[in-house]
Chain length 147, copies 2
Amino acid sequence: MTHCPACERLRAPAADPLFIAELRQSIAMLHEHQAYPGWCVLFVKDHAEHLHELDPQVRADLMLDVADAAAALNRAFAPRRINYECLGNQLAHIHWHVIPRYQPPLDPDPRSVVWVRDGAQLHCGSTQAERLQAIRALRAAGLVGQA
Amino acid sequence: MTHCPACERLRAPAADPLFIAELRQSIAMLHEHQAYPGWCVLFVKDHAEHLHELDPQVRADLMLDVADAAAALNRAFAPRRINYECLGNQLAHIHWHVIPRYQPPLDPDPRSVVWVRDGAQLHCGSTQAERLQAIRALRAAGLVGQA
């Protein structure tokens, strides 16, 4: 296997400042971009590149993790809707983006995917205190370990 | 309920020229944009707007449908990878995009989501004969009714 930045990051997940919880088959992290408050990313624990190649039971449990993240996000942040994206275009380790969408002006283009905004807009400069507050809100809303 | 274009379309799904198959909880259609050959969309059969509000068993079966579509897509078109997106930003009826990604030049920007291309590029003008060929290829690769 070539070097995988996600596997590197998952070696000591709880030490990551964006760590939220260890779930059934994934590690939930807050996304570094908080232009959409509560945006989470779930990384599958064991390295795998293609969702359709996962063991069906692992995939089913991973999707339960995604559903739990969405439910917590909904309780904690009451977004207008939630976008679910498993892409792998830039990072070849299965991960799910669970992205809350809001009304303008917070969410300036609710009819488009978040990726149409340029990186500087996505990286809105949330502080570590704000990120920690979001992590705590998601945990309080039920996004906690399944072990 | 306000008028839903997806429900309208699903009234007689088999009559739709893009119809592929009726699955467990969804109707699989070829996407009208075939700039990424084999791009499918799975519409949940019974109107629902938010994935996290679906009955867990319905959601699990829907995800099996998505996995089946991806497996067939992989067998029929051998893409480099597959993007999975459930957005609802423009159509408030749960639907999953299962989008095959290829190497350039067919897929000119494999590091980005397909939506960064403008509509004219996405709507590459595939013919009805080409679309029918893709539908047949997906069915031959196993994307057939579960009933």
